[in-house]
């Protein structure tokens, strides 16, 4: 019902807006597609993930991917004639869950019109078979096959290091490439800086689709902000601001693992800016704030002092002096059920 309304509403709307949004840039779109990679693949070797592979998306009916099980709502939309073109893709990507009520594309949408246009331009570069039509074909260099005689065992050079002389020395460039970890005392921090204002834009483009514009977390993705003074409450809210002891952890984690599905794609300065912005989202710094490799270690997180060492062995219930637990008549009254396993019946059976 609401689906039909939406689709009709949109075609009316489309009649009014006729020109496709300008400023579309497939190269930008490729980067922005990072936020889709958690669920979609595109290209010749693309497979269905949680979402279908997205080859040949322009000017064809929705819901055609073979061997992919769409949601009932999506199928209905496809049956009532939904076609993918610039306009419909734009509306869908803006707010998938509103455009097709009940779709299983649990993704809040891409807010910026320009970003959507770029993503669509990128999608359109792939034909039905996943070949990138515009992609530059690099000339293949055919290497002549040379069969070298096997080396004699004595011709191998044995390194000098260590005990068994195995492995080889890591080159400086290799260590630099992989050694990306950062410690609370600042060890490992790259030189650089970024401010919360730039961070806000980067965050909006690369993070907000999952973590929410205010770090509140959309649909089912983690929350990054808020929750101060809730750790003793019945439902504590553990966020960067309320729980994380060190700022270095934020920088380190974003740089090594985020955006989810497109790790290691941000520059060091981008990570500074986004980290500054997350501090702002948590009311720990103001919007003018600039985070730099110089001021980094002076920033303290509010919950730092509340972490303690493992002292489980001091818990009072533990038996001491090798005493034995009770074997017989350990309670006066028989056992009585006070709680049963329940599996929540939260399911919105659509019928």
């Amino acid at each position: 019902m609401s689906l039909r309304k939406t689709i009709l509403g949109i075609s009316a709307f489309m009649a009014l807006v006729c020109s496709a949004p300008a400023l579309a840039d497939a190269a930008d779109g490729e980067k922005l597609f990072g936020q889709c990679l958690a669920c979609h693949q595109i290209g010749e070797s693309a497979k269905h993930l949680f979402g279908p592979k997205l080859n040949g998306m322009s000017n064809k009916p929705a819901g055609l991917a073979e061997d992919y099980v769409y949601s009932g709502s999506f199928k209905k939309a496809a049956q009532s004639g939904l076609k993918w073109d610039d306009e419909s893709l734009d509306k869908f990507l803006e707010a998938p869950l509103d455009f097709i009520v009940g779709t299983k594309m649990a993704f809040p949408g891409v807010k910026s019109e320009e970003s959507r246009a770029s993503i669509i331009a990128y999608l359109k570069e792939f034909n039905e078979n996943g070949e990138r039509i515009k992609a530059v074909v690099e000339p293949k260099i055919i290497k002549p096959i040379v069969i070298e005689p096997r080396k004699l065992a004595t011709e191998f050079v044995v390194p000098k290091h260590g005990v068994l002389h195995l492995g080889r020395r890591a080159l400086d460039e290799e260590v630099v490439a992989w050694d990306i970890d950062i410690r609370p005392d600042g060890l490992g921090l790259p030189k650089g800086s970024g401010n919360a204002i730039d961070g806000s834009e980067l965050y909006e483009n690369h993070c907000a689709s999952c973590h929410g514009s205010f770090g509140e977390g959309t649909v089912r993705w983690p929350v990054l902000a808020g929750g101060e003074d809730t750790l003793t409450e019945e439902r504590p809210e553990k966020t960067v601001g309320s729980y994380w002891p060190y700022l270095s952890t934020v920088y380190d984690y974003i740089r090594r693992a985020m955006p989810f599905g497109n790790a290691r794609s941000l520059s060091d300065d981008d990570v500074y800016a986004i980290t500054a912005y997350i501090l702002y989202l948590n009311d720990l710094e103001d919007e003018e704030f600039e985070l730099t490799s110089e001021n980094f270690t002076s920033i303290r997180m509010p919950n730092e002092e509340n972490f303690t060492a493992d002292n489980r062995h001091e818990e009072s219930y533990r038996l001491t002096n090798n005493s034995e637990p009770c074997m017989n008549n350990c309670a006066d009254i028989p056992a009585r059920i006070i709680q049963r396993a329940r599996v929540l019946d939260v399911t919105p059976d659509s019928e």
Partner: protein, 451 residues
């Protein structure tokens, strides 16, 4: 288990396929739910055949000769598959329940998620490779061993890079160890919730690893005198890291290439994973690509935001590495009810301790009022699961089954009441409390809490 958490405050239902629960209060993702229809179907499947088999397996009730015996069956007459039909053998087609379970009703995103070992479907102490529960933070990395490199850098004399061929030239060892996720049983902190030991206790597996002692690799690089901590790092898209203290690294950690005799499975870190015996599963970094040596811990995300144990007073324990003494009865259990009526009955389960061997397991059928010592059977190895059996004559009345393990250092598995009194209910991790199964007088079994 990272961003998945374990009780059921608020939920958001976004569509007809994915049901997930999001605890605003807790700021963690909570997966527990299933479609009612799925639930009903599952309920039928699990309890399925109970009525039938209660009658069917009662030998005295057989009036008609069984055609299974009196008639010639297909497999008695016709030839079966030849030798090459299954180049890599697989379980019998009839073992449909012996599978890891997760989707569609437990979590929404399979890339950072978990599934569970079907403990009620296995016996002995070794978990078959295909049934070892999975938990990844960025999907399964698929790495050609020819492309695998392991780097050791930091406070060492010579930073090194090893290929798989290099690693194969170190002296190697075989050890059986359990791996338990720190969040195993985490869903049960607030009360009985999931009906099945696969779901309450299935984030554990027990495997024989072949690998190289980490200390040999470190010796090759040469440790500097201020080397106190290690940071193993994964090559997958989550670049998993944890800080490991040097004493542990030099004691029993392995860099493993094989599990149960074959190369590691991709989902278990092929071609290389760290083995940290007795300690939290998430320290056993998969797709291991680098080990940094340092003088202080790193306090990375998986040892601050996650894998820290929040207590009632708002403080949180960190570096709670050891998985303490624990046990669970795997049969009977909710997914494995008693189908044979009263009489001779086998009760069995698993016990383990991250500190060493299991000394004893006691079993109670009356909810902890009286205990009998179970029989440990099979190899008793340090930091490996132990199999226990209790063979008894069931009188057909309802039972409250419990098991209580004691390790070689005298540590006794605590009750749920003990643990909650000591820690509150927001710890998520390290719930090693005694589990209760209620067996009704028709043999069906439920996860309950008792007073």
């Amino acid at each position: 288990m990272g961003w998945i958490s374990f009780y059921l405050p608020k939920y958001i239902v976004k569509n007809e396929y994915i049901v997930y629960i999001f605890s605003k209060g807790y700021r963690e993702w909570v997966p527990i739910s299933m479609k009612r229809r799925t639930l009903l179907k599952r309920g039928l499947a699990l309890g399925g055949g109970v009525g039938a088999s209660l009658a069917g397996s009662n030998a005295l009730a057989a009036q008609q000769p069984e055609t299974l015996i009196t008639e010639i069956q297909d497999w008695n007459r016709y030839l079966g598959d030849g030798v090459d039909a299954r180049p890599y053998g697989r379980p019998s087609q009839f073992e449909t329940e012996a599978v890891r379970r997760n989707v569609p009703w437990l979590t929404a995103d399979p890339k950072s998620s978990v599934n569970f070992t079907p403990l009620h479907k296995i016996d002995g102490i070794i978990t078959p490779n295909g049934l070892c529960f999975e938990r990844h933070h960025g999907g399964i990395a698929e790495i050609d061993p020819a492309d695998q490199r392991l780097m050791i850098n930091g406070l060492v004399d010579t930073p090194l890079v090893f290929t798989m061929e290099d690693l194969a030239r170190f002296p190697r060892e075989n050890h059986v160890y359990f791996l338990e996720c720190a969040a195993n049983t985490g869903m049960e902190w607030r009360g009985a919730q999931l009906n099945g030991c696969q779901f309450t206790h299935g984030m554990v597996h027990n495997v024989m690893y072949t690998g190289v002692k980490l200390k040999h690799l470190l010796a090759e690089a040469g440790l500097k005198s201020n080397a106190k901590w290690l940071l193993p790092e994964g090559a997958d898209s989550s670049h998993m890291t944890r800080s490991v203290p040097m004493e542990k690294a030099l004691d029993d950690c392995l860099v493993a290439t094989h599990m149960n005799g074959e190369a590691l499975r991709p989902e278990q870190g092929y071609p290389l994973r760290l083995v940290v015996p007795g300690w939290e599963g998430n320290m056993w970094v998969k797709w291991l690509r680098r080990i940094e040596v340092g003088d202080k811990p790193w306090h990375h995300r998986e040892e601050t935001s996650k894998y820290t144990d929040l207590l009632e007073d708002g403080t949180a324990r960190r570096f709670t590495w050891v998985m303490e003494v624990k046990s669970v009865i795997t049969n009977p259990s909710p997914q494995a009810p008693i189908n044979h009526g009263r009489g001779q009955t086998v009760l069995t389960g698993l016990a383990w301790s991250g500190l060493g061997k299991i000394k004893r397991v006691d079993v109670s059928i009356d909810g902890g009022r009286n205990w009998k010592t179970a029989r440990l059977d099979g190899p008793s190895l340090s930091k490996s699961v132990h199999r226990f059996y209790y063979d008894f004559n069931w009188d057909g009345s309802e039972m409250f089954l419990q098991s209580r393990a004691i390790d070689e250092f005298g540590n006794v598995q605590p009750t749920k009441t003990d643990l909650r009194a000591a820690r509150g209910v927001n710890s998520i991790y390290h719930n090693n409390a005694i589990q209760t199964w209620h067996v009704r007088n028709d043999g069906t079994t439920e996860n309950v809490e008792i007073a």
